[in-house]
Protein backbone atom coordinates (compact mmCIF):
# COMPACT_ATOMS: atom_id res chain seq x y z
CA UNK A 1 0.00 0.00 0.00
CA UNK A 2 1.20 3.51 -0.80
CA UNK A 3 1.85 5.69 2.22
CA UNK A 4 -0.93 8.21 2.67
CA UNK A 5 1.38 11.14 3.24
CA UNK A 6 4.64 11.30 1.36
CA UNK A 7 7.74 12.34 3.22
CA UNK A 8 8.80 15.59 1.71
CA UNK A 9 11.93 16.60 3.60
CA UNK A 10 14.62 14.33 2.31
CA UNK A 11 17.43 16.76 3.08
CA UNK A 12 16.95 16.81 6.82
CA UNK A 13 16.63 19.86 9.02
CA UNK A 14 19.67 21.82 7.76
CA UNK A 15 19.02 21.03 4.11
CA UNK A 16 15.47 22.28 4.45
CA UNK A 17 16.58 25.40 6.24
CA UNK A 18 19.10 26.11 3.50
CA UNK A 19 16.41 25.67 0.86
CA UNK A 20 14.17 28.13 2.66
CA UNK A 21 17.04 30.59 3.06
CA UNK A 22 17.89 30.36 -0.63
CA UNK A 23 14.36 31.44 -1.52
CA UNK A 24 14.68 34.56 0.63
CA UNK A 25 16.16 37.15 -1.71
CA UNK A 26 16.91 39.65 1.04
CA UNK A 27 18.81 37.09 3.06
CA UNK A 28 20.84 35.96 0.05
CA UNK A 29 21.70 39.59 -0.70
CA UNK A 30 22.76 40.01 2.92
CA UNK A 31 24.82 36.82 2.75
CA UNK A 32 26.56 38.24 -0.32
CA UNK A 33 27.36 41.45 1.60
CA UNK A 34 28.83 39.48 4.47
CA UNK A 35 30.87 37.24 2.15
CA UNK A 36 32.26 40.32 0.37
CA UNK A 37 33.16 41.81 3.76
CA UNK A 38 34.96 38.63 4.75
CA UNK A 39 36.74 38.58 1.40
CA UNK A 40 37.87 42.20 1.93
CA UNK A 41 39.10 41.38 5.39
CA UNK A 42 41.08 38.32 4.29
CA UNK A 43 42.67 39.91 1.22
CA UNK A 44 42.90 43.46 2.60
CA UNK A 45 46.60 43.71 1.71
CA UNK A 46 45.99 42.97 -1.94
CA UNK A 47 42.67 44.77 -2.37
CA UNK A 48 43.63 48.05 -0.76
CA UNK A 49 45.01 50.47 -3.37
CA UNK A 50 47.47 51.98 -0.84
CA UNK A 51 49.07 50.81 2.39
CA UNK A 52 46.72 51.87 5.16
CA UNK A 53 49.42 53.85 6.96
CA UNK A 54 50.97 55.58 3.97
CA UNK A 55 50.99 59.27 4.80
CA UNK A 56 51.11 61.79 1.96
CA UNK A 57 51.31 65.36 3.17
CA UNK A 58 50.84 66.75 -0.30
CA UNK A 59 47.39 65.22 -0.50
CA UNK A 60 45.63 65.73 2.82
CA UNK A 61 41.84 66.19 3.19
CA UNK A 62 41.18 65.33 -0.42
CA UNK A 63 37.56 64.73 -1.32
CA UNK A 64 36.83 61.60 -3.40
CA UNK A 65 38.69 61.61 -6.71
CA UNK A 66 40.30 59.25 -9.23
CA UNK A 67 43.44 58.59 -7.19
CA UNK A 68 41.64 58.28 -3.91
CA UNK A 69 38.15 56.92 -4.50
CA UNK A 70 36.92 57.89 -1.04
CA UNK A 71 39.35 60.75 -0.48
CA UNK A 72 42.16 61.12 2.03
CA UNK A 73 42.33 62.05 5.71
CA UNK A 74 44.25 64.60 7.73
CA UNK A 75 47.51 62.69 7.22
CA UNK A 76 46.85 62.17 3.53
CA UNK A 77 46.10 58.49 4.07
CA UNK A 78 43.75 56.79 1.60
CA UNK A 79 40.36 56.37 3.30
CA UNK A 80 39.26 53.43 1.13
CA UNK A 81 42.39 51.48 2.06
CA UNK A 82 41.84 52.22 5.71
CA UNK A 83 38.21 51.11 5.50
CA UNK A 84 39.21 47.88 3.79
CA UNK A 85 41.77 47.19 6.49
CA UNK A 86 39.29 48.26 9.13
CA UNK A 87 36.97 45.43 8.13
CA UNK A 88 39.59 43.05 9.54
CA UNK A 89 39.38 44.51 13.01
CA UNK A 90 35.61 44.84 13.00
CA UNK A 91 34.92 41.32 11.81
CA UNK A 92 37.60 39.90 14.07
CA UNK A 93 36.30 41.69 17.15
CA UNK A 94 32.70 40.91 16.28
CA UNK A 95 33.38 37.26 15.63
CA UNK A 96 35.66 36.59 18.58
CA UNK A 97 33.50 38.35 21.13
CA UNK A 98 30.50 36.36 19.94
CA UNK A 99 32.46 33.12 20.21
CA UNK A 100 33.60 33.98 23.73
CA UNK A 101 30.07 34.99 24.74
CA UNK A 102 28.54 31.85 23.20
CA UNK A 103 30.98 29.53 24.93
CA UNK A 104 30.64 31.12 28.36
CA UNK A 105 26.94 31.98 28.09
CA UNK A 106 26.05 28.70 26.43
CA UNK A 107 27.83 26.70 29.10
CA UNK A 108 26.15 28.63 31.90
CA UNK A 109 22.76 28.32 30.23
CA UNK A 110 23.13 24.62 29.45
CA UNK A 111 24.23 23.71 32.98
CA UNK A 112 21.56 25.95 34.44
CA UNK A 113 18.75 24.52 32.34
CA UNK A 114 19.91 20.93 32.60
CA UNK A 115 20.42 20.69 36.33
CA UNK A 116 17.77 23.19 37.36
CA UNK A 117 17.18 23.82 41.05
CA UNK A 118 19.75 25.76 43.03
CA UNK A 119 22.40 25.91 40.33
CA UNK A 120 19.84 27.33 37.95
CA UNK A 121 18.66 29.85 40.48
CA UNK A 122 22.17 31.01 41.31
CA UNK A 123 23.28 31.36 37.68
CA UNK A 124 20.13 33.05 36.51
CA UNK A 125 20.14 35.60 39.34
CA UNK A 126 23.75 36.35 38.41
CA UNK A 127 22.59 36.89 34.82
CA UNK A 128 19.80 39.15 36.10
CA UNK A 129 22.44 41.30 37.75
CA UNK A 130 24.52 41.55 34.58
CA UNK A 131 21.39 42.39 32.61
CA UNK A 132 20.45 45.13 35.06
CA UNK A 133 23.48 47.10 33.85
CA UNK A 134 22.88 48.51 30.35
CA UNK A 135 25.24 46.57 28.04
CA UNK A 136 26.99 49.61 26.63
CA UNK A 137 27.77 50.90 30.15
CA UNK A 138 29.10 47.53 31.26
CA UNK A 139 31.34 47.40 28.20
CA UNK A 140 32.47 50.98 28.81
CA UNK A 141 33.40 50.29 32.44
CA UNK A 142 35.26 47.12 31.50
CA UNK A 143 37.05 48.85 28.66
CA UNK A 144 37.96 51.70 30.98
CA UNK A 145 39.58 49.33 33.46
CA UNK A 146 41.34 47.06 30.99
CA UNK A 147 44.10 48.51 28.85
CA UNK A 148 43.00 49.48 25.34
CA UNK A 149 43.65 46.71 22.86
CA UNK A 150 42.09 44.06 20.71
CA UNK A 151 41.83 41.30 23.30
CA UNK A 152 40.47 43.55 26.01
CA UNK A 153 37.93 45.04 23.62
CA UNK A 154 36.73 41.51 22.87
CA UNK A 155 36.41 40.75 26.58
CA UNK A 156 34.58 44.00 27.32
CA UNK A 157 32.01 43.31 24.62
CA UNK A 158 31.66 39.59 25.30
CA UNK A 159 30.88 39.96 29.01
CA UNK A 160 27.89 42.16 28.29
CA UNK A 161 26.58 39.58 25.80
CA UNK A 162 26.87 36.52 28.04
CA UNK A 163 23.42 36.77 29.70
CA UNK A 164 21.66 36.83 26.33
CA UNK A 165 23.18 33.51 25.24
CA UNK A 166 22.76 31.96 28.66
CA UNK A 167 19.05 32.68 28.47
CA UNK A 168 18.60 31.43 24.91
CA UNK A 169 20.43 28.19 25.62
CA UNK A 170 18.68 27.68 28.96
CA UNK A 171 15.30 28.12 27.30
CA UNK A 172 16.04 25.60 24.56
CA UNK A 173 17.51 23.15 27.05
CA UNK A 174 14.39 23.42 29.18
CA UNK A 175 12.20 22.74 26.19
CA UNK A 176 14.29 19.76 25.05
CA UNK A 177 15.22 18.28 28.41
CA UNK A 178 11.92 16.57 29.10
CA UNK A 179 11.46 15.14 25.65
CA UNK A 180 11.52 11.42 25.33
CA UNK A 181 14.78 10.94 23.46
CA UNK A 182 16.65 12.48 26.37
CA UNK A 183 14.90 10.15 28.75
CA UNK A 184 15.81 7.28 26.45
CA UNK A 185 19.46 8.33 26.50
CA UNK A 186 19.39 8.49 30.28
CA UNK A 187 17.85 5.02 30.40
CA UNK A 188 20.71 3.49 28.45
CA UNK A 189 23.11 5.06 30.91
CA UNK A 190 24.50 8.02 29.00
CA UNK A 191 26.45 10.41 31.19
CA UNK A 192 25.27 13.95 31.84
CA UNK A 193 28.05 15.54 29.83
CA UNK A 194 27.39 13.16 26.96
CA UNK A 195 23.73 14.09 26.97
CA UNK A 196 24.54 17.80 27.11
CA UNK A 197 27.11 17.69 24.29
CA UNK A 198 25.62 15.00 22.07
CA UNK A 199 21.93 15.71 22.37
CA UNK A 200 21.11 19.02 23.93
CA UNK A 201 23.65 21.36 22.37
CA UNK A 202 23.03 20.21 18.77
CA UNK A 203 19.35 20.75 19.40
CA UNK A 204 19.69 24.34 20.51
CA UNK A 205 22.05 25.26 17.69
CA UNK A 206 19.35 26.88 15.61
CA UNK A 207 18.40 29.62 18.10
CA UNK A 208 22.08 30.15 18.90
CA UNK A 209 22.96 30.68 15.24
CA UNK A 210 20.21 33.26 14.90
CA UNK A 211 21.19 35.03 18.09
CA UNK A 212 24.86 34.94 17.09
CA UNK A 213 24.25 36.54 13.70
CA UNK A 214 22.22 39.34 15.23
CA UNK A 215 24.64 39.49 18.16
CA UNK A 216 27.62 39.93 15.86
CA UNK A 217 25.95 43.03 14.47
CA UNK A 218 25.59 44.32 18.02
CA UNK A 219 29.21 43.46 18.83
CA UNK A 220 30.52 45.34 15.81
CA UNK A 221 28.40 48.33 16.81
CA UNK A 222 29.74 48.19 20.37
CA UNK A 223 33.33 47.84 19.15
CA UNK A 224 33.07 50.89 16.93
CA UNK A 225 31.31 52.83 19.69
CA UNK A 226 34.02 52.03 22.21
CA UNK A 227 36.75 52.92 19.73
CA UNK A 228 34.91 56.14 18.96
CA UNK A 229 35.02 57.01 22.67
CA UNK A 230 38.73 56.24 22.70
CA UNK A 231 38.28 53.11 24.79
CA UNK A 232 38.82 50.49 22.11
CA UNK A 233 41.26 50.25 19.25
CA UNK A 234 43.69 53.17 19.33
CA UNK A 235 44.91 55.11 16.29
CA UNK A 236 46.82 54.68 14.03
CA UNK A 237 45.35 51.16 13.69
CA UNK A 238 42.62 51.49 11.09
CA UNK A 239 39.30 50.80 12.81
CA UNK A 240 36.01 52.26 11.66
CA UNK A 241 35.05 53.70 15.05
CA UNK A 242 38.44 55.25 15.73
CA UNK A 243 38.53 56.64 12.17
CA UNK A 244 35.25 58.38 12.97
CA UNK A 245 36.68 59.58 16.25
CA UNK A 246 39.53 61.37 14.52
CA UNK A 247 37.35 62.52 11.62
CA UNK A 248 35.07 64.28 14.08
CA UNK A 249 37.38 67.25 14.54
CA UNK A 250 37.15 68.05 10.85
CA UNK A 251 33.40 67.53 10.53
CA UNK A 252 32.70 71.18 9.70
CA UNK A 253 34.92 71.27 6.63
CA UNK A 254 35.70 67.69 5.56
CA UNK A 255 32.55 65.66 6.01
CA UNK A 256 33.68 62.85 3.65
CA UNK A 257 36.02 61.64 6.40
CA UNK A 258 32.99 61.05 8.64
CA UNK A 259 30.64 59.73 5.99
CA UNK A 260 32.47 56.74 4.55
CA UNK A 261 33.64 54.78 7.61
CA UNK A 262 30.10 55.10 8.98
CA UNK A 263 28.61 53.75 5.77
CA UNK A 264 30.97 50.79 6.04
CA UNK A 265 29.70 50.06 9.55
CA UNK A 266 26.11 50.49 8.46
CA UNK A 267 26.38 48.13 5.50
CA UNK A 268 27.98 45.45 7.64
CA UNK A 269 25.38 45.72 10.39
CA UNK A 270 22.60 45.92 7.82
CA UNK A 271 23.82 42.69 6.19
CA UNK A 272 24.13 40.86 9.48
CA UNK A 273 20.68 41.99 10.63
CA UNK A 274 18.92 40.91 7.45
CA UNK A 275 20.83 37.63 7.39
CA UNK A 276 19.88 37.05 11.03
CA UNK A 277 16.21 37.69 10.29
CA UNK A 278 16.39 35.40 7.27
CA UNK A 279 18.06 32.67 9.31
CA UNK A 280 15.37 32.93 11.96
CA UNK A 281 12.66 32.49 9.34
CA UNK A 282 14.56 29.63 7.71
CA UNK A 283 15.41 27.79 10.90
CA UNK A 284 12.05 28.17 12.55
CA UNK A 285 9.38 28.06 9.85
CA UNK A 286 6.64 28.17 12.46
CA UNK A 287 7.52 31.75 13.32
CA UNK A 288 7.10 33.00 9.81
CA UNK A 289 3.92 34.89 9.00
Amino acid sequence: MKPLIERKNKNGFWGDAWCRLKKNKGAMFALAIILIMIFCAVFADRLAPYPYDLQDYNHTFETPNRQHLLGTDNFGRDILSRIIHGSRISLLVGFSSIIVAIILGGLLGAVSGYYGGRVDNLFMRAMDILMAIPGMLLAISLAAVLKPGLLNLVIAIAVADIPGYARVVRASVLSIKDQEFIEAAQCVGASDSRIIFKHIIPNCLAPIIVQATLGMAGAILSASSLSFLGLGIQPPTPEWGSMLSSARQYIMSYSHMTTFPGIAIMITIFGLNILGDGLRDALDPRLKN
Binding site: I133, F228, I265, N289
Partner: protein
Protein backbone atom coordinates in the same frame (compact mmCIF):
# COMPACT_ATOMS: atom_id res chain seq x y z
CA UNK B 1 -1.79 44.90 42.65
CA UNK B 2 -0.05 46.37 45.71
CA UNK B 3 1.22 42.94 46.59
CA UNK B 4 2.54 42.48 43.10
CA UNK B 5 4.37 45.82 43.14
CA UNK B 6 5.73 45.06 46.61
CA UNK B 7 7.12 41.75 45.47
CA UNK B 8 8.73 43.33 42.43
CA UNK B 9 10.36 45.91 44.69
CA UNK B 10 11.69 43.21 47.00
CA UNK B 11 13.09 41.29 44.04
CA UNK B 12 14.94 44.43 42.97
CA UNK B 13 17.00 44.64 46.18
CA UNK B 14 19.31 41.64 45.64
CA UNK B 15 19.76 42.60 41.99
CA UNK B 16 20.80 46.13 42.90
CA UNK B 17 23.19 44.83 45.57
CA UNK B 18 24.64 42.56 42.92
CA UNK B 19 25.02 45.50 40.57
CA UNK B 20 26.94 47.44 43.22
CA UNK B 21 29.23 44.47 43.81
CA UNK B 22 29.87 43.93 40.09
CA UNK B 23 30.62 47.56 39.36
CA UNK B 24 32.78 47.95 42.46
CA UNK B 25 34.75 44.84 41.54
CA UNK B 26 35.32 45.97 37.97
CA UNK B 27 36.60 49.32 39.15
CA UNK B 28 38.71 47.67 41.85
CA UNK B 29 40.74 46.02 39.10
CA UNK B 30 41.83 49.37 37.65
CA UNK B 31 45.60 49.56 37.41
CA UNK B 32 47.26 52.57 39.05
CA UNK B 33 47.06 54.13 42.48
CA UNK B 34 44.22 56.57 43.19
CA UNK B 35 46.21 58.23 45.96
CA UNK B 36 49.04 58.93 43.55
CA UNK B 37 46.49 60.33 41.06
CA UNK B 38 45.06 62.70 43.67
CA UNK B 39 48.40 63.98 44.92
CA UNK B 40 50.16 64.09 41.58
CA UNK B 41 53.58 62.85 40.52
CA UNK B 42 55.45 65.34 42.69
CA UNK B 43 54.11 64.10 46.01
CA UNK B 44 56.38 62.11 48.32
CA UNK B 45 55.93 58.39 48.82
CA UNK B 46 55.09 58.90 52.49
CA UNK B 47 52.33 61.41 51.68
CA UNK B 48 50.84 58.95 49.20
CA UNK B 49 51.02 56.19 51.77
CA UNK B 50 49.33 58.42 54.33
CA UNK B 51 46.49 59.23 51.95
CA UNK B 52 46.10 55.54 51.04
CA UNK B 53 45.73 54.77 54.70
CA UNK B 54 43.16 57.54 55.27
CA UNK B 55 41.14 56.57 52.18
CA UNK B 56 41.15 52.97 53.35
CA UNK B 57 42.87 51.81 50.17
CA UNK B 58 45.17 49.53 52.15
CA UNK B 59 42.28 47.47 53.47
CA UNK B 60 41.35 44.15 51.93
CA UNK B 61 38.98 43.92 48.95
CA UNK B 62 36.17 42.62 51.15
CA UNK B 63 36.53 45.40 53.73
CA UNK B 64 36.52 48.04 51.01
CA UNK B 65 33.53 46.47 49.30
CA UNK B 66 31.51 46.27 52.50
CA UNK B 67 32.40 49.85 53.36
CA UNK B 68 31.33 51.01 49.90
CA UNK B 69 28.02 49.15 50.13
CA UNK B 70 27.32 50.50 53.62
CA UNK B 71 28.08 54.03 52.50
CA UNK B 72 25.91 53.75 49.42
CA UNK B 73 22.96 52.05 51.05
CA UNK B 74 22.80 53.83 54.40
CA UNK B 75 24.39 57.21 53.76
CA UNK B 76 23.78 57.60 50.05
CA UNK B 77 27.48 58.44 49.88
CA UNK B 78 29.48 57.52 46.77
CA UNK B 79 32.73 59.06 48.00
CA UNK B 80 34.50 62.16 46.82
CA UNK B 81 35.73 62.86 43.32
CA UNK B 82 39.51 62.53 43.00
CA UNK B 83 39.74 65.52 40.73
CA UNK B 84 37.20 68.03 42.05
CA UNK B 85 37.21 66.72 45.64
CA UNK B 86 33.46 67.33 45.79
CA UNK B 87 31.04 64.53 46.77
CA UNK B 88 30.38 62.28 43.79
CA UNK B 89 26.64 62.26 44.57
CA UNK B 90 26.43 66.03 44.18
CA UNK B 91 28.42 65.97 40.97
CA UNK B 92 26.16 63.27 39.56
CA UNK B 93 22.90 64.88 40.65
CA UNK B 94 23.98 68.06 38.92
CA UNK B 95 24.19 66.26 35.56
CA UNK B 96 21.74 63.41 35.96
CA UNK B 97 18.56 65.40 35.08
CA UNK B 98 20.03 66.33 31.71
CA UNK B 99 20.68 62.70 30.83
CA UNK B 100 17.30 61.52 32.06
CA UNK B 101 15.56 64.31 30.18
CA UNK B 102 17.43 63.39 27.00
CA UNK B 103 16.55 59.72 27.42
CA UNK B 104 12.92 60.54 28.26
CA UNK B 105 12.48 62.76 25.20
CA UNK B 106 14.08 60.12 22.99
CA UNK B 107 11.99 57.31 24.39
CA UNK B 108 8.83 59.38 23.92
CA UNK B 109 9.73 60.17 20.33
CA UNK B 110 10.59 56.58 19.57
CA UNK B 111 7.44 55.18 21.16
CA UNK B 112 5.20 57.59 19.25
CA UNK B 113 7.00 57.10 15.93
CA UNK B 114 7.60 53.37 16.39
CA UNK B 115 4.13 52.37 17.56
CA UNK B 116 2.23 54.44 15.01
CA UNK B 117 4.40 53.31 12.11
CA UNK B 118 4.26 49.73 13.33
CA UNK B 119 0.46 49.74 13.44
CA UNK B 120 0.09 51.31 10.00
CA UNK B 121 2.62 48.87 8.55
CA UNK B 122 0.88 45.86 10.03
CA UNK B 123 -2.61 46.90 8.98
CA UNK B 124 -1.42 47.63 5.45
CA UNK B 125 0.96 44.70 5.14
CA UNK B 126 2.92 44.63 1.84
CA UNK B 127 1.73 48.14 0.90
CA UNK B 128 4.24 50.77 -0.21
CA UNK B 129 4.09 52.40 3.21
CA UNK B 130 4.86 49.05 4.83
CA UNK B 131 7.83 48.45 2.56
CA UNK B 132 9.23 51.94 3.12
CA UNK B 133 8.72 51.75 6.87
CA UNK B 134 10.32 48.32 7.08
CA UNK B 135 13.35 49.46 5.09
CA UNK B 136 13.62 52.59 7.22
CA UNK B 137 13.57 50.50 10.35
CA UNK B 138 16.25 48.17 9.02
CA UNK B 139 18.47 51.16 8.28
CA UNK B 140 17.63 52.62 11.67
CA UNK B 141 18.81 49.58 13.60
CA UNK B 142 21.92 49.31 11.42
CA UNK B 143 23.21 52.85 12.02
CA UNK B 144 25.59 53.39 14.91
CA UNK B 145 24.01 56.02 17.19
CA UNK B 146 27.04 58.25 17.26
CA UNK B 147 27.45 58.15 13.51
CA UNK B 148 23.79 59.04 13.03
CA UNK B 149 24.52 62.00 15.30
CA UNK B 150 27.54 63.02 13.26
CA UNK B 151 25.64 62.70 9.99
CA UNK B 152 22.76 64.74 11.40
CA UNK B 153 25.28 67.45 12.28
CA UNK B 154 26.69 67.36 8.74
CA UNK B 155 23.25 67.64 7.16
CA UNK B 156 21.33 69.92 9.52
CA UNK B 157 24.08 72.06 11.01
CA UNK B 158 26.87 72.22 8.47
CA UNK B 159 24.93 72.19 5.21
CA UNK B 160 21.41 73.37 5.99
CA UNK B 161 22.40 75.48 9.01
CA UNK B 162 19.00 74.82 10.60
CA UNK B 163 20.09 73.54 13.99
CA UNK B 164 23.07 74.01 16.28
CA UNK B 165 25.77 71.32 16.17
CA UNK B 166 26.65 71.13 19.83
CA UNK B 167 26.12 72.54 23.28
CA UNK B 168 23.02 72.92 25.40
CA UNK B 169 21.55 76.40 25.54
CA UNK B 170 17.88 75.96 24.65
CA UNK B 171 15.31 73.67 23.08
CA UNK B 172 16.89 73.87 19.63
CA UNK B 173 19.96 72.15 21.01
CA UNK B 174 17.90 69.13 22.03
CA UNK B 175 16.36 68.30 18.67
CA UNK B 176 19.29 66.60 16.94
CA UNK B 177 20.51 64.67 20.01
CA UNK B 178 17.10 63.35 21.01
CA UNK B 179 16.11 62.34 17.50
CA UNK B 180 19.37 60.61 16.71
CA UNK B 181 19.41 58.90 20.10
CA UNK B 182 15.84 57.74 19.54
CA UNK B 183 16.45 56.59 15.97
CA UNK B 184 17.43 52.99 16.59
CA UNK B 185 14.84 52.65 19.35
CA UNK B 186 12.02 53.84 17.11
CA UNK B 187 13.18 51.34 14.51
CA UNK B 188 13.24 48.50 17.05
CA UNK B 189 9.87 49.46 18.51
CA UNK B 190 8.39 49.74 15.04
CA UNK B 191 9.59 46.27 14.08
CA UNK B 192 8.26 44.78 17.29
CA UNK B 193 4.90 46.56 17.02
CA UNK B 194 4.53 45.45 13.43
CA UNK B 195 5.24 41.79 14.05
CA UNK B 196 3.22 41.69 17.26
CA UNK B 197 0.29 43.40 15.56
CA UNK B 198 0.45 41.00 12.61
CA UNK B 199 0.33 38.14 15.06
CA UNK B 200 -2.61 39.60 16.98
CA UNK B 201 -4.81 40.49 14.01
CA UNK B 202 -4.76 36.84 12.98
CA UNK B 203 -6.24 35.73 16.28
CA UNK B 204 -9.72 34.27 16.60
CA UNK B 205 -10.92 37.02 18.92
CA UNK B 206 -10.35 39.60 16.21
CA UNK B 207 -12.68 37.56 14.02
CA UNK B 208 -15.17 37.51 16.89
CA UNK B 209 -15.00 41.31 17.02
CA UNK B 210 -15.59 41.51 13.28
CA UNK B 211 -18.52 39.16 13.66
CA UNK B 212 -20.03 41.60 16.15
CA UNK B 213 -20.04 44.23 13.42
CA UNK B 214 -17.27 46.29 14.97
CA UNK B 215 -15.51 48.76 12.64
CA UNK B 216 -11.95 48.06 11.52
CA UNK B 217 -10.53 51.12 13.27
CA UNK B 218 -12.14 50.18 16.57
CA UNK B 219 -10.91 46.61 16.16
CA UNK B 220 -7.35 47.90 15.89
CA UNK B 221 -7.66 50.40 18.74
CA UNK B 222 -9.88 48.50 21.17
CA UNK B 223 -9.12 44.84 20.51
CA UNK B 224 -5.73 44.51 18.85
CA UNK B 225 -3.61 47.29 20.30
CA UNK B 226 -3.78 46.27 23.94
CA UNK B 227 -2.82 42.68 23.12
CA UNK B 228 -0.13 43.74 20.70
CA UNK B 229 1.42 46.15 23.20
CA UNK B 230 2.27 43.42 25.72
CA UNK B 231 5.54 42.37 24.03
CA UNK B 232 6.17 45.93 22.83
CA UNK B 233 6.18 47.27 26.38
CA UNK B 234 8.94 44.80 27.26
CA UNK B 235 10.97 46.00 24.31
CA UNK B 236 10.46 49.63 25.31
CA UNK B 237 11.80 48.84 28.76
CA UNK B 238 14.85 47.10 27.35
CA UNK B 239 15.44 49.90 24.87
CA UNK B 240 15.57 52.34 27.74
CA UNK B 241 18.77 50.62 28.85
CA UNK B 242 20.10 50.99 25.33
CA UNK B 243 19.18 54.68 25.39
CA UNK B 244 21.07 55.24 28.64
CA UNK B 245 24.11 53.56 27.10
CA UNK B 246 23.62 55.54 23.91
CA UNK B 247 23.36 58.80 25.84
CA UNK B 248 27.04 58.39 26.72
CA UNK B 249 27.85 58.51 23.01
CA UNK B 250 25.33 61.15 22.01
CA UNK B 251 26.32 63.46 24.86
CA UNK B 252 29.92 63.16 23.71
CA UNK B 253 29.01 63.89 20.09
CA UNK B 254 26.86 66.92 20.90
CA UNK B 255 28.88 68.13 23.92
CA UNK B 256 25.88 67.95 26.22
CA UNK B 257 26.90 68.29 29.88
CA UNK B 258 25.08 65.18 31.09
CA UNK B 259 26.05 62.18 33.17
CA UNK B 260 27.19 60.18 30.14
CA UNK B 261 29.74 62.73 29.03
CA UNK B 262 30.79 63.12 32.67
CA UNK B 263 31.51 59.39 32.90
CA UNK B 264 33.67 59.44 29.77
CA UNK B 265 35.56 62.53 30.93
CA UNK B 266 36.13 60.88 34.31
CA UNK B 267 37.41 57.71 32.65
CA UNK B 268 39.97 59.82 30.84
CA UNK B 269 40.95 61.46 34.15
CA UNK B 270 41.01 58.08 35.91
CA UNK B 271 38.49 59.43 38.41
CA UNK B 272 37.26 55.98 39.39
CA UNK B 273 34.75 56.83 42.08
CA UNK B 274 32.88 59.08 39.66
CA UNK B 275 32.81 56.39 36.96
CA UNK B 276 31.67 53.84 39.53
CA UNK B 277 28.97 56.13 40.89
CA UNK B 278 27.82 57.25 37.48
CA UNK B 279 27.45 53.75 36.09
CA UNK B 280 25.67 52.73 39.29
CA UNK B 281 23.25 55.62 38.93
CA UNK B 282 22.41 54.76 35.33
CA UNK B 283 22.01 51.07 36.19
CA UNK B 284 19.69 52.07 39.02
CA UNK B 285 17.55 54.20 36.69
CA UNK B 286 17.41 51.29 34.27
CA UNK B 287 16.18 49.01 37.07
CA UNK B 288 13.56 51.55 38.14
CA UNK B 289 12.41 51.77 34.54
CA UNK B 290 12.18 47.99 34.32
CA UNK B 291 10.15 47.94 37.51
CA UNK B 292 7.84 50.50 35.98
CA UNK B 293 7.52 48.37 32.85
CA UNK B 294 6.72 45.31 34.96
CA UNK B 295 3.97 47.20 36.75
CA UNK B 296 2.61 48.48 33.47
CA UNK B 297 2.67 44.91 32.23
CA UNK B 298 0.45 43.91 35.13
CA UNK B 299 -2.04 46.61 34.18
CA UNK B 300 -2.15 45.68 30.52
CA UNK B 301 -2.33 41.92 30.90
CA UNK B 302 -4.98 40.73 33.38
CA UNK B 303 -3.53 37.22 33.31
CA UNK B 304 -0.42 38.39 35.14
CA UNK B 305 -2.40 40.15 37.82
CA UNK B 306 -4.56 37.17 38.64
CA UNK B 307 -1.67 34.73 38.40
CA UNK B 308 -0.27 36.76 41.16
CA UNK B 309 -3.32 36.26 43.29
CA UNK B 310 -3.38 32.52 42.85
CA UNK B 311 0.17 31.24 42.79
CA UNK B 312 3.77 32.08 42.13
CA UNK B 313 3.91 30.90 38.55
CA UNK B 314 4.92 34.37 37.60
CA UNK B 315 8.65 33.87 37.60
CA UNK B 316 8.41 30.96 35.23
CA UNK B 317 6.05 32.88 32.99
CA UNK B 318 8.30 35.87 33.00
CA UNK B 319 11.35 33.83 32.08
CA UNK B 320 9.47 32.39 29.17
CA UNK B 321 8.36 35.82 28.09
CA UNK B 322 11.82 37.30 28.12
CA UNK B 323 13.44 34.41 26.35
Amino acid sequence: MAKYIGKRLLMMIPVLLGVIIVIFSIMYMTPGDPARMILGEAASASAVEELRESLGLNDSYITQLLRYITNVVFKFDLGNSYSSHKPVVDEILERFPTTILLAAISVTISVIVGVIMGIISATRQYSIFDKLATSFSLLGVSMPTFWAGLMAVIVFSVHLRWLPASGSYGWKYWILPSFTLGLSSSATIMRMTRSSMLEVIRQDYIRTARAKGQSENMIIIYHALKNAMIPVVTVIGMRFGGLLGGSVLIESVFAIPGLGKFIIDSINMRDNLVVQGGVLFLALSFSVCNLFVDILYGFIDPRIKSQYKSSSKRRIKKDEATN
